[in-house]
Amino acid sequence: MENQIPPSSETGTDLDNFFNLSFDMVGLDTLRQLSLWAKIISVCAFIGYAFSLAGALFGHPRSSGFIDEQSSAVTGSRISNILGAFLVVIVGGAINYFLYRFAVGIDRGVSSMDALKVNEGFNSLRIYFKILGIILIIVLAILVIAILIELAGLAGR
């Protein structure tokens, strides 16, 4: 008994603190609505991706009367459209998969009053926001590089 290591004050306090917060009736109702709307967003996104992919794959190429439909410009534009649609489907699909998992986790957790499932749901939300944040950082980095290249080009003239 004497050799028992007392919990560190930080961990003990954190544990105590987290146990003081709960999902009361108001919180549970909010969680239910939250999961419903998160599910709607993800399902809408999945259906939208399927449609946009179908449009890119089977849609008629947009060409003006002056350009032949078989010309390399139209073919190139069509290929870039398909590649762009695939990229959006892969990235968006991954993001919305975690949003869907969040919705399902919260829904199951609230209906069965299982805190573990709610935690799993929040973990999916964490991954969802993390992926969005990383994508945002990448986009901002590309933007900064593009601006720097443009400025360097202007300075070189």
Binding site: D14, L15, N17, F18, F19, N20, L21, S22, F23, D24, M25, V26, G27, L28, T30, L31, Q33, L34, W37, A38, I40, I41, C44, A45, I47, G48, F51, S52, A54, G55, F58, G59, H60, G109, V110, M113, D114, A115, V118, N119, F122, N123, L125, R126, F129, K130, L132, G133, L136, L140
Partner: protein
């Protein structure tokens, strides 16, 4: 006595936030705050560009096409500003979620914690409506492309 009983029953119906859940939520809050702040800055810059550009484009169109053209440009700019206002509201809701949830966890304030969850709900609600509109638009444009 009755009050104590009902309080106990309510507590039985409640789910407590455990250590793992709290840690996960804290990291979620950190990422959502980053997204909200970058979103606010980005949308602010975009709004500034729209407002500054609008006066130039409006004057140019009025010179070329007269008052009718300028009216059309004004309508387009009004729609853009409305969309931007909605997006700024969405980003503010995300920021409120991060601030209130963090405050709720740090100070053990149930009211702040619930307020944070409500802000997240509003964030998802508006995103859901935008998602439905996006889906309708995508279906419409795909059908046009396939015909």
């Amino acid at each position: 006595m009755d009050n104590t009983k009902s309080q106990q029953q309510t507590e039985l119906l409640e789910m407590h936030l455990d250590y793992d859940g709290g840690n996960t939520l804290q990291e979620t809050v950190r990422w959502s705050k980053f997204l909200a702040i970058v979103g606010m800055i980005g949308l602010g810059i975009y709004l500034l560009v729209v407002l500054v550009g609008a006066s130039f484009i409006g004057a140019l169109v009025q010179q070329t096409y007269g008052l009718e053209g300028a009216g059309l440009v004004g309508l387009v700019i009004a729609v853009i500003i409305f969309v931007l206002a909605v997006l700024i509201f969405v980003v503010v809701m995300l920021y409120r979620f991060s601030v209130f949830t963090r405050r709720g966890i740090d100070t053990q304030d149930q009211v702040s914690f619930n307020r944070g969850l409500k802000s997240l709900k509003t964030y998802f609600l508006i995103n859901g409506i935008i998602g439905i509109l996006y889906l309708l638009l995508t279906i419409f444009s795909t059908v046009i492309a396939l015909i």
